[in-house]
C-alpha cells in the first residue's frame, strides 16, 4: 500500500493530529452553539444577552401571564351571560397610559446604552503590525489570505495597488480597487477552507467576496459579518485556547449555500509559526522514477495538469529537479467560473477538511476493527497517520473528484462550482488521490 512519504508524515501529522485530538476532546454535540462562547468577543455578546434575558422574561410573564390570567379571571360563562349587564365602561386613563409609554421607553433606553457601547467595542482593531487575515467568500468555499510578509496590507495581484489591512494602514478600505485581483498573488499566503490562527491574540479580518454576498460566522468566537463583493468589511476573532471551531455561511449565497462551511483551528503560537512556515513552502513535484508510489503520484500529477489545473493552483518550486513546475494563466473569466477562483491546492493534504469544509479529509478508524482495516488496505498502515486512528478519506475524495455535483449541489453547466469528470477510471482516481496526498 501507498504511504505518505515519511518526511512529510511528521508535518502533516502536526495539524491533522492536533485536529484529531481536538475533535475527540471537543466532541460536543452542538458545535455552533451561541450559548457556549469561547472567544472574548462572543463572550461579550453573550454577557450582554445574559442580562437582557431576565428583562425579557419579566415582560413575558407579565404580558402573557396577564393576558391568560385576565381571560380566565374575567370570563363569563355562556349561561351567565346577560346582554344588558355591562361592566364599568372605562375609556382610558391618560396618566396610566403615559406611564406605560414612558416605562418601556426607559427600560429600552437602559438596554440601548450597553448595546451601543458594545457595538463600538466589537469594532476595535489591533494596532498595526499584528497578524491580519483576509477572508474571501466564493461560491461555495472560503479563502483565507495571510499577510505573511508583514507589511500590513494585502498585495494586489498585479502589484499596482494594495488591499489595505483592517487597521486602515495605507489608506481607506473604501478606496480599494475593485474587482478583487488577488487570485494569484504570491506575496501573501492563500489557504482555502480552513482558517488557522494562533491562540491568545486578536486576529483582525478583512472580509469580502468574489461573487455574491456571503456571511462569515464562527458562533463561538464572534457574531457574523457579511462578505459583500465590492466592499471590505472588517471584523475580528480571538481564541484563548487551542481548539477547532466550525461555522456556516449565513447569508443565502445560491444553490449550495448549505455546502459552504467554515473550519477554524486555533494552535499554540509556536505550532502556528511552524504551520505558517510549512504552508509557505511550494509543493514537491513527485518523481516519475521514484518508486511505485511516487510514480503513481506522478501519473496523478499529469492528470491534474490536464484536468484540474485550469482552475486549481498548486504552487511548485520552479527549480524542482523532478519536473517542470506548473505555470498558470493569470485570469479566469466568468464564463469559466462565475466566482473567478477555485481553491488553491498547494497544501491540500495538510487540511482537515475539503469541498467547502463539508467533508473531512481524514476519518477516524478504529484500529481494533479488522474489517475496516481490511477496507483501508491490508495491514492498516496505508493511510493511517501517526497514532493509527486517522486515515486519508480517499473514498470520499474519489467520489468528489469523479462527480462533485452529486456530492454537493453545484451547477457547473452555468459556471457555478466544480464539474464532474465521468471519464476518470478507478486507476485515474487512485493516481489523483495519490498525488493529492503528497500535497501536504
Amino acid at each position: 500500500m501507498r504511504k505518505f512519504p515519511k518526511r512529510r508524515l511528521a508535518r502533516t501529522g502536526l495539524l491533522v493530529g492536533a485536529v484529531a485530538v481536538l475533535l475527540s476532546a471537543c466532541a460536543e454535540d452542538k458545535p455552533l452553539n451561541t450559548f457556549e462562547p469561547r472567544g472574548p468577543k462572543a463572550e461579550a455578546i453573550n454577557n450582554l444577552a445574559l442580562w437582557i434575558w431576565p428583562i425579557m422574561g419579566v415582560v413575558f410573564v407579565l404580558v402573557v401571564g396577564g393576558g391568560i390570567g385576565l381571560a380566565i379571571k374575567n370570563r363569563v360563562k355562556p349561561e351567565d351571560y346577560d346582554p344588558d349587564d355591562l361592566p364599568e365602561q372605562v375609556h382610558g386613563n391618560p396618566k396610566l397610559e403615559w406611564t406605560w409609554t414612558a416605562v418601556p421607553a426607559l427600560i429600552l433606553l437602559a438596554i440601548t446604552i450597553p448595546t451601543i457601547v458594545l457595538i463600538w467595542d466589537l469594532e476595535e482593531k489591533n494596532e498595526p503590525g499584528e497578524l491580519d487575515v483576509m477572508v474571501i467568500g466564493n461560491q461555495w468555499w472560503w479563502e483565507y489570505r495571510y499577510d505573511i510578509d508583514g507589511d500590513g496590507f494585502f498585495e494586489d495581484a498585479d502589484g499596482d495597488g494594495e488591499i489595505y489591512g483592517p487597521n486602515g494602514e495605507g489608506g481607506d478600505l473604501d478606496d480599494v480597487e475593485w474587482p478583487l485581483d488577488i487570485a494569484l498573488d504570491d506575496d501573501d499566503l492563500a489557504v482555502p477552507n480552513q482558517l488557522v490562527i494562533p491562540t491568545g491574540e486578536q486576529i483582525d479580518l478583512v472580509i469580502t467576496s468574489r461573487d455574491v454576498i456571503h456571511s462569515f460566522w464562527i458562533p463561538r468566537l464572534n457574531g457574523k459579518r457579511d462578505a459583500v463583493p465590492g466592499r471590505m468589511n472588517t471584523w475580528s476573532i480571538e481564541s484563548p485556547d487551542v481548539g477547532e471551531y466550525t461555522g456556516w455561511c449565513t447569508e443565502f449565497c445560491g444553490l449550495s449555500h448549505a455546502g459552504m462551511r467554515m473550519s477554524v483551528v486555533a494552535l499554540e503560537p509556536d505550532d502556528f509559526a511552524q504551520w505558517l512556515a510549512d504552508q509557505s513552502e511550494p509543493a514537491d513535484i513527485p518523481s516519475a522514477t521514484g518508486g511505485e508510489e511516487e510514480a503513481l503520484a506522478a501519473n496523478g500529477r499529469a492528470l491534474f495538469q490536464a484536468l484540474c489545473a485550469s482552475c486549481h493552483i498548486v504552487n511548485e518550486d520552479p527549480n524542482d529537479p523532478d519536473g517542470v513546475a506548473f505555470t498558470y494563466a493569470k485570469d479566469f473569466t466568468a464564463d469559466e467560473l462565475a466566482s473567478g477562483a477555485a481553491p488553491d491546492l498547494t497544501n491540500f493534504a495538510s487540511r482537515a477538511v475539503f469541498a467547502g469544509a463539508t467533508y473531512s479529509q481524514y476519518v477516524e478508524v478504529d484500529p481494533d476493527d479488522d474489517n475496516l482495516l481490511e477496507e483501508v488496505g491490508g495491514d492498516g498502515e496505508g493511510y493511517l497517520d501517526l497514532d493509527g486512528s486517522l486515515r486519508f478519506n480517499d473514498a470520499a475524495l474519489k467520489r468528489w473528484i469523479k462527480d462533485a455535483p452529486s456530492q454537493k449541489a453545484m451547477d457547473p453547466d452555468n459556471s457555478l462550482g466544480m464539474p464532474a469528470f465521468p471519464q476518470l477510471s478507478e486507476q485515474d482516481l487512485e493516481a489523483l488521490v495519490a498525488y493529492l496526498a503528497t500535497l501536504d
Binding site: 452553539n33 402573557v64 391568560i68 457595538i119 466589537l122 459583500v228 449565513t250 444553490l255
Partner: protein
C-alpha cells in the same frame, strides 16, 4: 349611490342614452349573480370576498411549500428535496405568504369593512377597486406559473443582489418573481390611493377622524405605508429587470456597483411592509376585544396615535435588517437606537388591550380566543424583536432560525391569528351564518399547539447556531430533536389552520340544513356601523347614510347613560338596524375593463421574460383597455333608473332625495 368617480357623469334626463353606446366596446355586464357577475363586479364587498378567497388559495400553496420545507428538515441530511428544489420552495413560500396571503387578507378586510365602518356605500373608485384586485390576482398567478415555466424563484424573498443576477441565477424563476410582484404592486398602489381617498373623503356625516373605528385607522396607516413603500420596491425591481432582461449593470460589482443598494431599497420598502402586514390585524383585535369584553377599547387616542407612530417610525429602522452588512458602527448604533424605540408604541398597544380585558366581562368565543392569542403570541415576537435591536446580539441571531421564529411569531402568531379572529367575528356579517364554535375552539387550540410547537423550538435552534435557508444539516450539529418537534408541530398547525375552511364548510351545511336562519344584523351586540345593517350586508350597504354622533356610535344608540352614568340598554341591535330596503338606491355598474386591463399586464410580463414580441399584443390590449375604460361612463346609461354623480347626502338626510335622480321610472 355614493360613488364619486366623477362629479358629473351622465346625461341630463330626457337625453337619448343610445348616444353613449358606441363609447364602450362591450355592452355593460348586468348579471347579478354567477361567474360573470363576479368577474365584472365593482362591489367592494364582493371584491373583499374575492381578495380573501384568492388569499386562501395562495395560503394553500404557501402552506404546502411550508410542509415540504418541514418534511425536508425533519431529519438530518434528508434527501427528500434537492438543494435546488429547497431553495425555490423556501423562496416561493416566503414570497407567496407575504405578498399573496398576508397582504391580500389585510386588503380583504379593508375592502369589505372599511366603507361599512365609515358609513359609505362603496369605495371612492369602484372600478379601480376591481382593477386593484384583478391586477393583484394576475400578478400572483403569474408568479405562481413559474412553478411550471421557470422552476420557481431561487433568490429568497429578499432576493439580494448580486445573487439575483443572471450569472448566479440563470433560470427564469427570478424574472417571474420580479414581474409578478411588480404587477401585483400596481394593484397595491391603486388600492392604497382608493382606500385612503375613501377613508378621508367618504365618511358619513359626523364621522370625524377621532370617531373612526381603530380598524379604519389602522387601514388608513397601512394604506399610507403601501402608498409610499411600493414605489421603492418597484424601483428596485426595475433596476433588477433592467439588469436581468435588458443588459444594464446596476448590480455589476465589476463595474463598481454596490450590492448594498438593493438591500437599502428592498428594506426601505421591506420594513414598512412588515408593519403594513401586522397593523390590519391590530385593527381587527381592537374591534373584537371591546365587543366581547363589553367595554370600550382602553385608551382609544393612544391606540390611534401609537398606530400612526408605528407608521412613521417604520420608515426609520430599515437598516436593522443590515446590521451585519458592514454599515459601520455609527449607522448601526443609530438604527439600533431607532429600532429599540419602535417597540414603545407597539408595547402601548399590547398594554391597552390588556387594560381592555381588565374588568371586562369576557365572552371567550373563538374570535375572542384568537384575539387574546394574538396579544400573547405577538408579545413573544415583539420581545425577540427587541433582542434583534441589540445589534451586537443580532450578529449572533441574524439569518438563523431565531429570526425565523421571530417573524413567524409576529406574522403567524400575530397577523394571521388576528385575521382568523376577524373571520370568526365578521363571518355572519359577510355570509349570513355564524361559524361553529366547537370547531372554532378546536381550530384555535390546535393552532396554538401546532404554532408553538413549530416555531417555539426555532428560537432554540437559532441560538444553537442553525442558519436559515439550509436545505440540510449534519447529524453532528445537534439540531435533530427540535427540528423533528417543529416538523410534527407544523403538521398539527397545517391541519388546524385548514380547519377554518373545514369549519366554514360544516357550518354552512348545518345552516343550510336548519333552513338558513337569519343571524340578525347584530349577532355579537357589537359597536360599529357595519352591525347596523342586515346580515349578510345588502348590496347597497346602507338604506340611508347614518349620521354619527359618537365614537362607537351604534353601541351608544343601543345603550344610553342613565342618571348614575351607567349605561342602560334602550334598544337591541336588531331594532335599530336598517331594514335593508334598496328602493331608490342605484349602484355603480359592473365593468369588463378592470379585469381586461389587469390581465393585459402579465401578457407584457411574459413577453419580457420569453420573447419581446409578446409584449406587443400585451401593450395593445392594455391601451385598448385603458381607453375603453376611460370612455366608459362609470354608470351604465342603458340601465333604467341610472343616475349620475354623487348622492352623498347632507347630514340628517333620510334618503328620500334618491328620488331626485334615481327613481325616474
Amino acid at each position: 349611490m355614493a360613488i364619486i368617480e366623477n362629479e358629473t357623469l351622465a346625461l341630463p334626463s330626457g337625453d337619448d342614452p343610445a348616444v353613449e353606446r358606441p363609447l364602450g366596446v362591450f355592452t355593460r355586464p348586468r348579471n347579478q349573480t354567477g361567474l360573470k357577475n363576479w368577474l365584472t363586479t365593482v362591489d367592494h364587498k364582493k371584491i373583499g370576498i374575492m381578495y380573501g378567497s384568492a388569499a386562501m388559495f395562495f395560503l394553500l400553496i404557501g402552506g404546502l411549500a411550508a410542509l415540504l420545507i418541514r418534511i425536508q428538515l425533519a431529519t438530518p441530511n434528508n434527501t427528500f428535496l434537492s438543494a435546488d428544489a429547497y431553495n425555490r420552495i423556501f423562496t416561493m413560500h416566503g414570497t407567496v405568504m407575504v405578498f399573496l396571503v398576508v397582504m391580500p387578507i389585510g386588503a380583504a378586510f379593508a375592502n369589505y369593512l372599511m366603507p361599512l365602518q365609515v358609513g359609505a356605500r362603496d369605495v371612492a373608485f369602484p372600478r379601480i377597486n376591481a382593477f386593484s384586485f384583478w391586477v393583484f390576482l394576475a400578478g400572483g398567478l403569474m408568479l405562481n406559473t413559474s412553478w411550471f415555466l421557470g422552476g420557481g424563484a431561487d433568490g429568497g424573498w429578499f432576493n439580494y443582489a448580486p445573487n439575483n443576477g443572471i450569472i448566479y441565477s440563470p433560470s427564469t424563476g427570478i424574472d417571474f418573481w420580479n414581474m409578478g410582484l411588480m404587477i401585483a404592486g400596481i394593484g397595491s398602489l391603486t388600492g392604497a390611493v382608493n382606500l385612503i381617498t375613501t377613508v378621508l373623503n367618504m365618511r358619513a356625516p359626523g364621522m370625524t377622524l377621532m370617531r373612526m373605528p381603530v380598524f379604519v385607522w389602522m387601514t388608513l396607516v397601512t394604506q399610507f405605508l403601501l402608498l409610499f413603500a411600493i414605489p421603492v420596491l418597484t424601483v428596485a425591481q426595475v433596476l433588477l429587470l433592467m439588469d436581468r432582461n435588458f443588459g444594464a449593470s446596476f448590480f455589476d460589482v465589476k463595474l463598481g456597483a454596490d450590492p448594498l443598494l438593493w438591500q437599502h431599497l428592498f428594506w426601505i420598502f421591506g420594513h414598512p411592509e412588515v408593519y403594513l402586514m401586522i397593523l390590519p390585524a391590530f385593527g381587527i383585535v381592537s374591534e373584537v376585544i371591546p365587543a366581547f369584553a363589553r367595554k370600550p377599547l382602553f385608551g382609544y387616542p393612544f391606540m390611534v396615535f401609537s398606530g400612526i407612530a408605528i407608521g412613521f417610525m417604520g420608515w426609520g429602522v430599515w437598516a436593522h435588517h443590515m446590521f451585519v452588512s458592514g454599515l459601520g458602527p455609527l449607522t448601526v448604533s443609530g438604527f439600533a437606537f431607532a429600532t429599540m424605540f419602535i417597540a414603545v408604541p407597539t408595547g402601548v398597544k399590547v398594554l391597552n388591550w390588556l387594560a381592555t380585558l381588565w374588568g371586562g366581562r369576557l365572552t371567550l368565543n373563538t374570535a375572542m380566543l384568537f384575539s387574546i392569542g394574538l396579544v400573547t403570541q405577538f408579545t413573544i415576537g415583539g420581545l425577540s424583536g427587541v433582542s434583534h435591536a441589540i445589534a451586537p446580539w443580532d450578529t449572533q441571531q441574524t439569518d438563523t432560525y431565531y429570526i425565523v421564529a421571530h417573524f413567524h411569531y409576529v406574522l403567524f402568531g400575530g397577523a394571521l391569528f388576528g385575521f382568523i379572529a376577524g373571520f370568526y367575528f365578521w363571518w355572519p356579517k359577510v355570509f349570513g351564518y355564524k361559524l361553529n364554535e366547537a370547531h372554532g375552539k378546536f381550530n384555535f387550540w390546535g393552532m396554538v399547539l401546532g404554532f408553538n410547537l413549530t416555531f417555539g423550538p426555532m428560537h432554540i435552534l437559532g441560538l444553537q447556531g442553525m442558519p436559515r435557508r439550509m436545505y440540510a444539516y449534519d447529524d453532528a450539529m445537534g439540531f435533530n430533536t427540535w427540528n423533528m418537534v417543529a416538523t410534527i408541530g407544523s403538521f398539527i398547525l397545517a391541519i388546524s389552520t385548514l380547519w377554518v375552511l373545514v369549519n366554514a364548510f360544516i357550518s354552512y351545511n348545518r345552516w343550510k340544513a336548519a333552513g338558513r336562519p337569519d343571524p340578525g344584523p347584530d349577532p355579537w351586540d357589537a359597536r360599529t356601523l357595519e352591525w347596523s345593517v342586515q346580515s349578510p350586508t345588502p348590496e347597497h350597504n346602507f338604506d340611508y347614510t347614518p349620521v354619527v354622533t359618537d365614537l362607537d356610535d351604534f353601541w351608544h344608540r343601543k345603550f344610553v347613560e342613565d342618571e348614575n352614568h351607567r349605561l342602560k340598554r334602550v334598544a337591541t341591535g336588531a331594532e335599530l338596524a336598517q331594514p335593508g330596503n334598496a328602493e331608490g338606491v342605484h349602484l355603480p355598474a359592473p365593468s369588463y375593463w378592470p379585469i381586461v386591463l389587469a390581465f393585459s399586464l402579465p401578457v407584457i410580463g411574459y413577453g419580457v421574460i420569453f420573447t419581446l414580441w409578446l409584449t406587443i399584443p400585451g401593450i395593445v390590449l392594455m391601451m385598448v383597455a385603458l381607453f375603453g375604460w376611460a370612455l366608459e361612463p362609470a354608470d351604465d346609461p342603458d340601465v333604467e333608473g341610472h343616475h349620475d354623480g354623487d348622492d352623498h347626502e347632507p347630514e340628517g338626510s333620510d334618503g328620500d332625495d334618491h328620488e331626485l335622480v334615481g327613481a325616474s321610472s
